[in-house]
């Protein structure tokens, strides 16, 4: 490096050094300027700002919208908003929490639960100065007492709001769902602009599916408030838009009759109005009181219900997946007729079992025992349906092959979701070869097809799917859009309902009548599996029973279902529609571990038919008189 270059370098260094010092002086000066400004604000004019802060009166507040109401098909309330007075504490303003709580116990009726829940909520993260609820549903007297003692109770607030209430909380808990407090994960994912001031959100069922419509749009107001947060004057206001009201096809009477008919047994039932395709009943038993979710569950109760072996929170009507068992036979019958592997005239011999060619495995069938002719009788499809013969369907399924069966079941909506507005329904399984390879890693065996022939094996359906499939059969293949929503103050909801799937077209429409005839025999025939249902009936039921194996019993010669442990017993099914001449309603009933479709599920279905067909709604009978 030359001397000259070095001198330049040193000169540059000095230059930059000077400028840097200069810059530092400048920023130090600016810092002093900022400090001076802050001193002016915080010390010199402190009093002015304190006064202003204390009188800070203009506040922008959100006005939450009123949630839409939900009605049943006859306009009776299923979900409403009741005025509620809530006692809550702003912890930042409370001087001595224990003392305040003690004072409050003298003024209002506080239960152990209330206090426990309050302490739980208090521990959770929240915004400072946000009130923590202590007790809902204050009565007039309590409000008055609190108002008189207001000045001794710092941080105690009484707020008026609306609370969701379900007049039929238990029987509609699964169908309607419920709203619950917005949790922190939801708070993040929901649109804050819409939920400002709203504390509840639909968590399941209709409340969840139609959340957006039910919610409404929040308004806002600019208000003058005092330092305690009380509103003195409203300066400017944009009113909230209430949420849309919904009318559902669900019918309180039918729903209640169905729920009562279960009598606490585990199971699910769905009923569909055949004219409209509306879901008129959707029951899951056992149930719970949906109102508990609004008020806030006592944590011990909630834990108990969650760990309850009967799974009261599970919606068995739409989420319970069961082997359809013999209820699938009419649909498989259509498959055989379409493929041509059977006909109404074909008869096969029933030796009491079925065996695949070149296979040792034996598929048993005990139906021969009820026949006077015993083993070896020649039976056809109609008889096989009425008696629920397995041998016939083993044969037919084997000859129809999986693809034929699968396609027909698919046309009836099995293994698919066809409901328009049911929250989170299960898909069920309508198996294919690819499905089995993917799911289980094995290829499809002929034995699997034979098992499918009696609705066992891999096939899974929900009561909802079976009700829909039965309804399609009741309409002779004409599809509809299975839905809950009947009407709404928001027309766009009705327009948003999807088109129905393509109709099931049989090559010979006569098959519908023939199958109907066979199914009538199930209830009204001399050897029908549900003939006990026909007692004292003045209309005809088109139905089918089913008994789904919970565990494999095929290798036991004899089994007495009474001796099997209750939870190992077979699931009982009944599907059907009525009245035969002018079908109005289709139902599917499943009773877990009910053992016998005809004896356990059938009577529940009968109760539903009677309710819907015979006990005409008050409004209508009044009109006719």
């Amino acid at each position: 490096m030359s001397i000259e270059r070095f001198q330049d370098y040193a000169r540059e260094q000095v230059l930059v050094f000077r400028r840097t010092l200069l810059a530092f002086s400048l920023i130090a000066l600016l810092c002093v300027l900022l400090a001076a400004r802050l001193f002016y604000l915080q010390v010199v004019t402190h009093d002015v700002h304190v006064a202003r802060s204390n009188n800070n009166r203009i506040s922008l507040q959100a006005l939450p919208p009123n949630r839409g109401l939900i009605y049943d098909s006859q306009g009776r309330l299923l979900a409403e908003n009741l005025p509620n007075h809530r006692l809550s504490l702003v912890l930042e303003r409370v001087i001595d929490l224990d003392a305040t709580l003690e004072q409050l116990t003298d003024l209002v009726d506080l239960s152990e639960d209330d206090i426990q829940r309050f302490h739980q909520q208090r521990q959770r993260p929240r915004r400072p100065f946000s009130p923590v609820p202590l007790k809902n549903g204050l009565n007039e007297e309590e409000i008055a007492r609190l108002a008189t003692n207001r000045y001794f109770l710092d941080g105690v607030e009484v707020e008026a709001n609306l609370m969701r209430s379900y007049p039929h909380g238990e029987i509609f808990a699964h169908a309607l769902g419920y709203v619950g407090r917005i949790n922190s994960a939801e708070r993040r994912s929901l649109d804050n602009r819409l939920y400002v001031g709203t504390e509840y959100v639909g968590k399941s069922g209709v409340e969840r599916f139609y959340e957006e419509a039910l919610l409404g749009k929040p308004g806002s107001q600019t208000v003058e408030i005092n330092a305690r947060g009380q509103i003195l004057r409203v300066l400017d206001q944009t009113l909230p838009e209430p949420g849309a009201d919904l009318q559902l096809y669900l019918d309180i009477d039918l729903q209640k009759a169905t729920y009562d008919a279960f009598d606490g047994r585990r199971g699910g039932a769905v009923a569909i109005d055949l004219e409209t395709g509306g879901i008129v009943a959707m029951v899951s038993s056992p149930s719970f009181d949906a109102n508990q979710f609004v008020v806030g569950f006592n944590s011990a109760d909630y834990a108990a219900m969650q760990s309850d072996i009967d799974l009261p929170f599970l919606n068995r009507a739409t989420r319970g997946q069961y082997a359809p068992a013999s209820t699938i036979k009419p649909f498989l019958g259509f498959a055989g007729l379409e493929v041509g592997s059977t006909s109404w005239d074909q008869r096969i011999e029933d030796p009491g079992f079925f065996q695949l060619p070149n296979d040792d495995r034996i598929f048993y069938d005990w139906t021969w025992r009820i026949r006077p002719e015993g083993r070896g009788a020649k039976i056809g499809m109609a008889q096989a349906i009425q008696e629920s013969s397995n041998t016939f369907f083993y044969h037919m399924a084997y000859n129809t092959r999986l693809e034929g069966l699968h396609d027909m079941l698919d046309q009836f909506g099995l293994g698919r979701i066809t409901t328009a507005d049911v929250h989170n329904p299960a898909r069920g399984i309508n198996p294919t070869r690819e499905w089995k390879r993917e799911r289980h890693g094995y290829s499809w065996y002929a034995g699997d097809t034979v098992n499918l022939g009696i609705g066992q094996g891999f096939m899974l359906t929900t009561p909802m799917q079976m009700a829909i499939a039965t309804a399609v059969m009741g309409r002779h293949g004409e599809w509809f859009t299975p839905r809950l929503l009947k009407d709404s103050s928001d027309d766009s909801l009705l327009e948003a309902l999807p088109e129905p799937p393509p109709d099931v077209a049989l090559s010979n429409p006569n098959h519908w009548q023939r199958m109907e005839e066979a199914l009538v025999g199930v209830v009204h025939g001399p050897r029908g599996t549900a003939r006990s249902l026909a007692q004292g009936i003045d209309y005809q039921i088109v139905g089918k029973t089913g008994t789904a194996q919970v565990f494999s019993i095929e290798n036991f010669e004899d089994h007495d279902s009474d001796e099997v442990d209750e939870r190992m017993r077979d699931h009982a099914w009944f599907v059907g529609y009525a009245p035969r001449d002018n079908p109005r309603i289709a139902v599917a009933v499943l009773v877990e571990n009910g053992a016998s479709g005809g004896r356990v599920a059938g009577p529940i279905a009968r109760r539903m038919f009677d309710q819907y067909l015979l006990e005409a709604p008050l409004a209508q009978s009044g009109g006719q008189q």
């Binding site: 930059v16 920023i27 810092c31 001193f39 304190v50 802060s53 203009i58």
Partner: protein, 372 residues
């Protein structure tokens, strides 16, 4: 002239790991302290742990960037100055055409939900580096021609960024460039002339460049009471918050202005109002002292840089850091118009945190690569 520059080196006994990792311990400690204070203040301002966690994650990313950049030799940084500037410029142009936006501004580039960044942030580092590179190719001080070239080189990205629109970032890019030219010894004649020109150009700027809401913000500064519920709202509420804090403040989490939602944007640009309300004058002075100390340490590092490029860049970045503080605190306390500039390392917001810490990485690189 023999100046004892070493006297300002504040030789700190450096432990082995700090030396190996090329970290300047005093600067690192002060930055870490500031970040910690920021998280504490953010909890109060936002009221939710969620924001604190996200901010902590971004600080983590920022410190990784700091660590990486500190390892580079200033000569490497010098070598990359031009390419980074050019690529940054291309990105800034791309934003105008294919950028993604939020709340009326288009500032982001990348794939939504996967990886997104604000190219303007690259220019906050790229522009001063470019100018330092350009100026140190010749002898200092720069002549008039060089000064004009420098101005053009920082006005082009600034102009593009204003289109997004992001006035705050544009001003910071211009400031970072001007500081480099200033430190390089630009003649006082030019400085004086430039200031005159700026004053003369202001009416044109007012009429042609500034948008209506930006003009409104400047007017509001002089008379916030004119529209107390509209444009004056922020400024009145933030001054009330700070002023009501007094000497000692109302106490952590006890600020009624902040906690009762009178203060908008309390966790982003206006967070210093929350701190002023809750920690008082004493708290804010301590905060300002910390900022000043960080700036002082940065400038000491700049003076002791090995070569002129490192000195100019470290000095320019340090001064830009201080501009953030001054503009932010100035706007919240009501002596500057409202410009979207965050309080460095404290305001909630991802990209500025990462850029700031990356800048400190460059400063640390200058601090720890001494031997020729």
């Amino acid at each position: 002239m023999s100046l004892r520059l070493d006297a300002l080196a504040l030789s700190v006994p450096t432990s082995g790991w700090a030396k190996r990792l090329h970290l300047d311990v005093p600067l690192l400690l002060m930055i870490a302290a500031l970040s910690a204070i920021g998280l504490v203040a953010l909890y109060s301002a936002s009221g939710e742990m969620y924001y604190v966690q996200r901010q902590a994650a971004r600080l983590g990313i920022g410190f990784v960037a700091l660590l990486v950049l500190a390892q580079l030799d200033p000569r490497t940084i010098r070598f990359w100055s031009l390419p980074v500037y050019v690529v940054g410029l291309v990105f800034v142009i791309m934003v105008l055409f294919v950028g993604t936006g939020a709340m009326g501004a288009t500032r982001w580039l990348g794939i939504r939900g996967v990886f997104m960044f604000q190219p303007a942030e690259i220019m906050k580092l790229g522009a001063p580096a470019m100018l330092a590179w350009y100026l140190t190719r010749r002898e200092l001080p720069p002549n008039l021609w060089q000064v004009i070239v420098c101005l053009v080189m920082c006005l082009i990205p600034a102009f593009l960024v204003v289109q997004q629109p992001d006035l705050g970032t544009a001003l910071l890019i211009i400031a970072s460039g001007l500081f480099v030219v200033f430190l390089a010894g630009m003649s006082w004649w030019y400085i004086g002339g430039g200031l005159l020109l700026a004053v003369a150009a202001f009416p044109a700027l007012w009429l042609l460049v500034l948008r209506e809401y930006q003009k409104q913000r400047i007017l509001t500064l002089f008379d916030p009471e004119k529209d107390p519920l509209g444009s004056g709202w922020n400024i009145i509420q933030s001054q009330t918050a700070i002023g009501s804090g007094g000497w000692e403040g109302k106490g952590y989490l006890m600020g009624t202005q902040s906690q009762l939602n009178f203060l908008p944007e309390s966790h982003t640009d206006f967070i210093v109002a929350v701190m002023g309300e809750e920690f008082g004058f004493i708290g804010l002075v301590v905060l300002l002292c910390l900022y000043l100390a960080i700036a002082a340490r940065g400038l000491i590092i700049a003076i002791n840089g090995r070569d002129t490029f490192g000195r100019l860049l470290a000095g320019g970045l340090t001064l830009t850091f201080f501009v953030y503080v001054f503009v932010n605190v100035g706007m919240v306390s009501g002596i500057l118009p409202v410009v979207g500039v965050p309080l460095p390392l404290i305001s909630y917001g991802g990209t500025s945190v990462v850029t700031l810490l990356a800048a400190f990485g460059i400063i640390m690189s200058v601090a720890t690569h001494k031997k020729l």
